[in-house]
C-alpha cells in the first residue's frame, strides 16, 4: 500500500477522529493523531489488513498529558507510521488494542506495570515487570514523581507465593523451572503446566534481571547512556549501541562520515556472525552432540578473538560514539579480520554439511517447536525466528540505515518454522554477513592508521537539542528499536528500548506447547533468546 492510498483510506474511514498528515520523506515517520475510540480499529487495520509490523508502544508522560505512541512500519513507501493518542494525566484508562494487535500484549502489560495505566479489554494485566511477591502495590517507577533514591517499596519475599494456574484438569500439575536451573543459564522462570508427557501451557516469568535501564537513563547525557545501551545486553552490544546512536544523531541532525558508516556495517556484521556461531553452538549443545558443540565452540571463540584483535574488545565495547566511532580502525586490520572470518565461515559451512547428514541430530530438530507463519505474524516475531517461519522481514532491507542500501545481500527465508528451519536460517545468515563484510572492506578508503581522533570517523561535535527520534537496527536476534527524547539541555528525557527478545519471548510458548518435555531445551536454544535483552 502506498502512502497516498493509506492517507486516503484513513481520511475516508475515520473522518474527524483520525488526523493523518501528508507523508514526509522516506524514513521520517508519519504521525497520525487518533481519538481514543478509534484507536483499536485503526491499529488493527494497520496490523492485520495493511500488513504493517507493530514495533512497540511508547508511553510518555508530558507536563499535563499522556502521549501514547504506537509505532508501526511497513515495507512499502509508507514507511513508519506513529499512531498518537493523548489524554490528560488524570485519565489513566485507554482502550486495549490486543484484540486486533496481539503483538501489543506485553507492551500494554509493561505500561500498566511501570506507569500505572489501565488498558480496557486486556485479558491479563498485573504481575509482569514488578514481581508481585517483591513489590508493594501502586509503585509506578517510570512516572516522573517516582523518586528512585527513596528507600521503600519492597515486600518481604513471600515464600508461599504461588503463580496462577491455567490448566485445571484432573492430574494436571505445574513444573516450575528456574530462575536458577541447569548449568550456565540466564535467570528466567518457566511454569510448565502438564498432565504427563507433553507441555500443555508454558508461561515464562521474566524480569528477574530488570535493571531499569530506561529509568536510570533519565537526566543523563547521551554519552553516559551509550554505556548503558551497550551494556544491557552485551552479546549484541554493538547493535544496541548503534540503534541508540542513530536516534541521537537523528535528533541532532548529525552527518556521519562515510567511513564511519562503512565501519559500523562491518562491525555490526562481525557481531552477527559471532552471535550466530554462538547460537549454533547452543543448538548443538542442547541436542547433546558433543563433537559438533566443540567445533562450534571453537569457531565462536575464534570470532571473539578476531573481534578482540581488531577492536581491543571481544564484545565490541567502546567503539561507538554519537556522531561516528570513538576510534578509527586501520584498513589492513579490517582486511585481516575479514580473512579470518572467511576461514571461520568455510568451517561453519563444513559443519552445516555434517549436521545435515547426522540423522540423530536432525530427529531432534525437525518438526519440533513449530511456529506457523500466520502465528509468527500475529505475535510480531522478529529476526531469524520470523524468517524461519516465512516472514521475509529485515530492517537492513526494508528500512535501511547506516548505508545498508549500498550493500548486496539476500534475506534468507524458510517456511517450515521448526527447529531445523531456524538452524538453517542461522547458517544462511552467516554467509550473508561475510558477504556484507567483504563489500565493506572493499569500500574502505582513506582514513586508517593515523590519529585516534581522526575526523574520518567522527562528525564534528554534536549539537544536542530538544527532540525525539527512533533509532533502529536489525540486531542479530531481530529488529531493535531505541526511542530517545532529549530535553532542552540535551539530556535524556525519555529512553525506551524495544529489543527483539521482547517480541520473541512473547511468542516462545507457541513453540513449546504440545511438545514433549525433553524437547524443551532444544526449543529454547533454537529460539536464541536473550533474557538480559528482554529484561533491560
Amino acid at each position: 500500500m502506498t502512502a497516498a492510498e493509506l492517507k486516503q483510506e484513513i481520511d475516508q474511514r475515520w473522518p474527524g477522529q483520525v488526523h493523518c498528515p501528508d507523508f514526509g520523506s522516506r524514513g521520517s515517520p508519519c504521525e497520525v493523531t487518533c481519538a481514543r475510540t478509534a484507536l483499536p480499529e485503526l491499529c488493527g487495520r494497520l496490523f492485520l489488513e495493511w500488513s504493517f509490523s507493530f514495533t512497540g508502544l511508547i508511553v510518555e508522560e508530558g507536563a499535563s498529558e499522556w502521549q501514547l505512541r504506537y509505532v508501526f512500519y511497513g515495507e512499502g513507501d509508507a514507511g513508519w507510521v506513529h499512531v498518537l493518542v493523548t489524554a490528560p494525566l488524570a485519565e489513566k484508562t485507554f482502550p486495549s488494542i490486543v484484540k486486533f494487535v496481539h503483538a501489543a500484549d506485553w507492551h500494554e502489560r509493561e505500561a500498566e506495570d511501570l506507569f500505572g495505566l489501565i488498558f480496557e479489554g486486556h485479558p491479563r494485566l498485573g504481575d509482569f515487570i514488578l514481581h508481585d511477591d517483591a513489590w508493594q502495590e501502586g509503585v509506578e517507577p517510570m512516572r516522573h514523581h517516582f523518586d528512585p533514591q527513596a528507600a521503600m517499596r519492597h515486600r518481604k519475599p513471600d515464600e508461599d507465593w504461588r503463580p496462577t494456574r491455567i490448566v485445571q484438569e484432573p492430574g494436571a500439575f505445574v513444573m516450575p523451572v528456574g530462575p536458577k536451573y541447569s548449568g550456565v543459564t540466564e535467570s528466567v522462570h518457566f511454569l510448565l503446566e502438564t498432565v504427563g508427557e507433553d507441555v500443555i501451557r508454558s508461561t515464562p516469568r521474566l524480569f528477574y534481571k530488570w535493571r531499569a535501564i530506561e529509568k536510570l537513563a533519565e537526566g543523563k547525557t547521551a554519552d553516559e547512556v551509550l554505556l548503558l545501551a551497550e551494556r544491557f545486553a552485551a552479546t549484541t552490544a554493538f547493535a544496541h549501541g548503534l540503534a541508540f546512536c542513530q536516534a541521537v544523531e537523528q535528533i541532532c541532525g548529525a552527518n556521519i562520515p562515510a567511513r564511519a558508516k562503512t565501519l559500523r556495517v562491518f562491525l555490526a556484521e562481525l557481531e552477527r556472525l559471532r552471535q550466530h556461531a554462538g547460537a549454533i553452538r547452543e543448538i548443538c549443545e542442547s541436542t547433546a552432540l558433543a563433537v559438533a558443540t566443540a567445533h562450534a565452540g571453537i569457531l565462536e571463540e575464534d570470532l571473539l578473538r578476531v573481534s578482540g584483535e581488531l577492536t581491543g574488545h571481544r564484545y565490541l565495547f567502546g567503539l561507538l560514539a554519537p556522531g561516528g566511532l570513538l576510534c578509527d580502525l586501520p584498513n589492513d586490520a579490517c582486511r585481516q579480520a575479514l580473512e579470518k572470518s572467511q576461514k571461520v565461515l568455510s568451517q561453519l559451512n563444513a559443519l552445516e554439511q555434517r549436521l545435515r547428514v547426522s540423522s540423530s541430530f536432525l530427529d531432534r530438530l525437525e518438526e519440533v517447536g513449530i511456529v506457523p507463519p500466520r502465528t509468527a505474524m500475529v505475535y510480531g516475531l522478529l529476526g531469524p525466528i520470523a524468517r524461519a517461519s516465512g516472514i521475509v522481514r529485515d530492517l537492513r532491507r526494508g528500512q535501511p540505515y547506516s548505508g545498508y542500501e549500498k550493500f548486496q545481500f539476500d534475506v534468507p527465508c524458510e517456511q517450515e518454522g521448526d527447529g531445523y528451519a531456524r538452524l538453517r536460517i542461522l547458517f544462511a545468515e552467516t554467509r550473508q554477513s561475510v558477504r556484507i563484510m567483504e563489500q565493506a572492506v572493499a569500500a574502505l578508503r582513506g582514513g586508517g592508521a593515523s590519529s585516534p581522533l581522526s575526523s574520518a570517523t567522527r562528525a564534528s561535535p554534536l549539537q544536542f537539542r530538544a527532540g525525539a527520534a527512533l533509532g533502529w537496527v536489525e540486531a542479530p536476534r531481530g529488529g531493535a528499536f531505541h526511542w530517545v527524547r532529549l530535553n532542552e539541555s540535551g539530556k535524556i528525557a525519555r529512553y525506551r528500548i524495544v529489543p527483539p527478545s521482547f517480541a520473541n519471548w512473547h511468542g516462545f510458548h507457541l513453540a513449546v506447547e504440545k511438545f514433549a518435555f525433553q524437547d524443551f531445551p532444544i526449543m529454547l536454544s533454537t529460539f536464541d533468546l536473550s533474557v538480559a535483552e528482554n529484561d533491560r
Partner: protein, 254 residues
C-alpha cells in the same frame, strides 16, 4: 558418524597451555588500564573522563582501581595521551582477609553458576571455559546445576532485587565449606548499573565474597585465573595498580 571422529581428530589440539605457560594468542583479553605516569596538567581531566571513577592521583602518578573498569575505552580513545594499558588477564583477586581457602579446595571443585542480572557477556565467557580452547575440566573444574553439589558459587551480574532472594537460597543450599566468587565488573563493583533502586552494588552487598574477577566482561582466561586463585594454585592479582604503598601514603585498606 565416522566423519565426526575424523573431523574431531583433524581439528587437532586447540587447548591453551595456560596455566603451565602464558597464552600469547591475540584477542584473548581486552586488557586493563594500569595507571602510572601521566602528564600532570591533564590528570584531572583524565579522572573526570572515566565514568566509573577508576582513576585517582597519588604521588604524582595515576592509580587505577581496576575493580571498577567497565571497558569503555574513554581513557585511551579520543584522548591524548592514552593512559597506560596492559594486555594481561590474570585478574583474579582475593578480598581482604579471605585468602585461607584450605584443604577442601585443593582438589577438583564443583561450581554453581548464578546469573544475578548480567548482560549476557560474562555468562558467555563462563560458557567458553567448556569449549576446547579453555577446557576447564582438565584442571578439575566442573559446572554443576545443583547447589547441593557445589563448592564454589560463581555469581555474575550486579544482583538485581528480584534475584536477591534466589541467590541467597542457592547459597544457603550449598554445603559448607563453600566459597563465593564474583565475576565481572558488575558483580564486583556494580559496574554500569549500580547502585540503583532495583540493583545492589555487587555480590558483596548480599553474600560474603571471597574471590573477585574484574573486567567487563572478564575474558575466559581471567575467570580461569580466578578459579585457580580460589583453589590456591595461583597467586591473586593486586586490585589497584600500581599497588599502593599503604604505610607511606597513610591510606587505610578498605
Amino acid at each position: 558418524m565416522s566423519q565426526w571422529v575424523i573431523n574431531g581428530i583433524r581439528a587437532g589440539i586447540k587447548t591453551t597451555a595456560y596455566p603451565a605457560k602464558p597464552e600469547a594468542a591475540a584477542g584473548v583479553s581486552p586488557g586493563l588500564p594500569v595507571g602510572g605516569d601521566y602528564p600532570a596538567n591533564q590528570v584531572a581531566s583524565l579522572i573526570e573522563r572515566c565514568p566509573t571513577g577508576v582513576f585517582s592521583q597519588a604521588n604524582g602518578k595515576v592509580r587505577a582501581d581496576i575493580r571498577r573498569c567497565i571497558h569503555c575505552y574513554r581513557c585511551v580513545r579520543g584522548v591524548e595521551p592514552p593512559v597506560n594499558w596492559e594486555q594481561t588477564y590474570e585478574w583474579g583477586t582475593v578480598r581482604d582477609g579471605r585468602h585461607e581457602f584450605g584443604q577442601p579446595f585443593e582438589r577438583s571443585i564443583h561450581i554453581c553458576v548464578v546469573d544475578a542480572g548480567d548482560c549476557g557477556a560474562c555468562l558467555n565467557e563462563v560458557k567458553q571455559l567448556n569449549n576446547p580452547y579453555y577446557n576447564m575440566h582438565r584442571l578439575g573444574f566442573f559446572i554443576t546445576p545443583s547447589p547441593r553439589h557445589a563448592d564454589v558459587l560463581l555469581v555474575v551480574g550486579p544482583v538485581t532485587d528480584h534475584m536477591k532472594f534466589a541467590l541467597k537460597k542457592v547459597y544457603d543450599a550449598m554445603p559448607t565449606p563453600k566459597r563465593v566468587m564474583a565475576v565481572g565488573a558488575c558483580a564486583v563493583s556494580g559496574g554500569a548499573f549500580a547502585e540503583s533502586f532495583v540493583c545492589a552494588k555487587g555480590v558483596a552487598d548480599v553474600l560474603p565474597v571471597d574471590v573477585e574477577v574484574p573486567g567487563n566482561p572478564p575474558p575466559p582466561l581471567a575467570i580461569l585465573h580466578g578459579l585457580l586463585v580460589a583453589v590456591g594454585r595461583k597467586t591473586p592479582a593486586a586490585l589497584i595498580s600500581p599497588a599502593p604503598n599503604f604505610e607511606n601514603e597513610g591510606l587505610t585498606k578498605s
